[in-house]
Subunit: 375 residues, 3 copies
């Protein structure tokens, strides 16, 4: 058995504070443009099966029990206690939490308390821009306050990201360079004049300005890739991380580190980018909970091209603590199976396998996000 | 052992009525732009090896016998009897037959008799247009008769499709929306003026009109994707189902169901579209006979992302009953191996595995095509 | 155990004649746009682990020993003796050597002597153009001398290729046809006027002229594909061999044979092109050394679509004899494992498996490059 240390989950979202019925629980399992098709259920997916395998035992039930039985037990325990058991049972030492997600969700501190773990903040750039716009009367004030807010966030957070639905891969594919100051002023003026309070940033020039402002701070920048990247908009034609190549090239040597989140079914392409560029890192976890029984197969593919020091686990957990737990538990088992198999074949030494397991489970994330210098 | 019920083959073509020599048999095994390269044979492919593994025993020979020996036995039995043994030996309860393929092929009724199975018709839209054009003197008559023919076909057939060589993925990628009536009239006029009798529809506006006419009927629409999609034209640059994303989005919520056929090597992308959009379904079978000894590997990949209620088996069989048989036999073995492996690992319960096997083998197709309401 | 004959390595480069320290050795292991990221090493990759598994025993050390120990032993033996042991220990009967790579590298003759094997030359077209330009005073002289040089090279070499960094996939994707004589004269004039001695050919018209000149000779033409294709430029957006489809179509039936090198992570797409077009062949080896413990998995994927008579091994070895050795040793083990597994499953016969092993290891390359008519 390969020993894996407690995990660092490099990307997750908060968990819902509200009790959930069967239908509302099911609706959170899968990212889809709509309700399940007639005659089908989201429980009949790898994610659904993985939840039914791993979560019932954490709540005192047998694996693979029926969804209704699981939900009844979950309500019996209450949302707080069931969340507590799920998160504490998954072997995660630290969470990096995207705080820019709408909904009644736990923030990093509450998640840390529930899970008895550390938690750090990942700041969403377009949300920062929206908050600044709410309190800035003019374009120059907006841009100055935005610069100040990004600088301030960089001191408190461990990474920046941008919402997957913002469509920035296509934007960066067309124009990877930072926009000029005049362009930015023009775009900011048009956006401020047009926006309702809280309106999302979709202007290509402003998105590029935000991403390049994050690059300038030196903090890691997490970029969403893969087929789920554009949900709920779902733009599979923007899923290929190759779209980001020119942005990757433009940011090389500036001291920033890029982390490509997700990537499935382009996970091999993301791994290849991590091999080709010193400042690029790839994500291991997002496909794992989702791919359930196939997690070891997908993990093995990611381990083909990427340097082992450039791969970082994440659960991709969002809204349901089940997804955080399943991401971690499936990953740990898949990692043990893949690396253990290579040791068994004589392809890897035991010692190397344990060293790589420790790197991808936690060590790489601690180094890239400088967690040991934080809180 | 996972039990799989008799299969529903959601896409195949008819089988040749003529006796075949070694060379003509070989030429049907693989979809290629030309004859085998000097020094090579199409028997030396996964398809060829799968035929040699599975078909000789159905004709009373040992597996893996030489092609010449197999062909001699096939001629000895005759094309009718060998077809009968091959189709009845493959465990298929119902075939959906694309009737728009040229050549001396069996139609659904004859295939049903030969195989002792049910058979249903899948209508090719561009062929319908060509038949209507043959008997329509003016543009208004053509368009009215076409509407009538599509309506009529929708009552008799279980699905519409469009020839893989029609190049519609690129057309829909550029213009997903239905064309306006004026556009359609103009395109119909130009096509009618230009066409020789029997000339294929390649006009982008007419293709879009046909596809949207099919959508309006509410019948499922099968769309070819994947690297074999454009054969014999072979346009690998049009193989990615992501090209269809905007058409998928435009047809969401209209009540139509889309089925993405084929998909290899983009089968994970097709599965991902089936996960993202409630009305999209993906095909399981087309890669399986072709990939032979690798079928379990490819099948496992398709089972990563797609909801299990959205996956449908097909043999993709065309012209040779060997291809129908191999598609079904390889699929059944691969499904048993993949799901049985997951049960063995503890990842899935036995009961879930048998339930999913029944869904993808037959139940999903019966629901999507409403076979139990048909004949 | 599947018996595999001595290999023909259809693409490699020469090996360095100079002694290497730990850092310079590490820098050659992986094709990257820069040095390893802080806190990481290129030894922590599948390539690095494969080198540490397979090479130490050839130099008398235990597998998986530490890099520093291996390098010390390598220096102790000297670059000549260690190269001799590595190449002779890898079971390769013949090398096809790309002689257009800069650096203090062994040529085919020296490699043959060191390895006790045959070696043949693969000529880089753009290098030929540069050599001709150095000694041609006018555009007409340049074009006449170039035609002569290509003709001359075709008699001595076994194949043509073009540098991966020349960016020709994008060029051919935009304009697959041969350029007209006027275009070529204009492009040659501009390039000759502009170039410093030794300046690389990047002009799209000249590149197309070179490639089509090679096609006209009837010698096989090797084309780089895949994510490493554009290194050090690294253009992942040009990695998909689908870019070459129109060039493939334009060269069909002319008597030339195309060989798609590399291909990872698009190796399935390359295999599919080899299935679709009689004159296209695909490469087996480039991903294998690089993917190390995952080689059997990648190899199995390539064996899905491609006809077995169209697949050719290569090590992709460059600069370090370790990479030539690892490519061959990893390939041989992966091939035995994949084909042996299919025999064990009953999917293939033993006899077919040994026949296919002999084809992909050596026989196909001997036929495609007509090696038995050479040297």
């Amino acid at each position: 058995m390969i020993e894996t240390p407690p995990l660092v989950d490099q990307y997750c979202q908060g968990v819902l504070r509200t009790e959930l019925g069967l239908g509302t629980f099911e609706a959170q399992l899968v990212r889809s443009a709509g309700a399940p098709a007639a005659g089908t259920t989201f429980f009949d997916t790898q994610t659904g099966f993985a939840v039914r395998r791993w979560c019932p035992p954490l709540l005192g039930l047998e694996p693979h029990c029926a969804p209704a039985r699981y939900l009844a037990r979950r309500r019996e325990l209450g949302v707080v206690e069931s969340g507590r058991r799920l998160l504490r049972g998954s072997g995660v030492a630290a969470y990096l939490v995207d705080t820019g997600v709408p909904g009644d969700l736990t923030g990093p501190k509450e998640l840390a308390l529930t899970a008895d773990a550390d938690a750090f903040e990942v700041v969403r750039l377009e949300l920062l821009a929206e908050q600044v716009a709410d309190t800035s009367g003019t374009v120059p004030a907006f841009l100055a306050n935005l610069a100040e807010a990004v600088h301030h966030a960089a001191a408190a957070a461990v990474a920046f990201t941008c919402g997957a639905d913002a469509g920035y891969p296509a934007v960066l594919g067309q124009a990877p360079e930072p926009p000029g100051p005049g362009e930015v002023r023009g775009a900011a003026g048009r956006w401020l004049a047009r926006r309702a309070k809280g309106g999302a940033v979709r202007d290509p020039v402003l998105l590029r300005h935000l991403l390049w402002s994050a690059v300038a701070t030196g903090l890691p920048l997490q970029l969403h890739t893969g087929a789920g990247a554009g949900d709920p908009g779902q733009r599979p034609q923007e899923a290929d991380p190759a779209l980001l190549t020119e942005f990757v090239r433009a940011t090389a040597g500036l001291g920033t580190r890029l982390v490509l989140l997700g990537g499935y079914p382009y996970h091999r392409h993301a791994a290849q980018l991590a091999a080709a560029f010193p400042h690029v890192h790839a994500d291991l976890g997002a496909a794992l909970g989702q791919s359930g029984a196939r997690a070891a197969g997908v993990l093995a593919e990611v381990l083909e091209a990427a340097p082992f020091g450039k791969l970082l686990f994440s659960s991709g957990g969002r809204r349901l603590p089940e997804l955080h737990a399943v991401g971690a538990l499936v990953f740990r088992e898949a990692l043990g199976r893949v690396l253990g198999g290579w040791v068994g074949d004589g392809a890897w030494s035991w010692r190397d396998a344990e060293r790589v397991a420790a790197m991808v489970a936690a060590g790489n994330a601690r180094r890239v996000y400088r967690l040991d210098e934080r809180g």
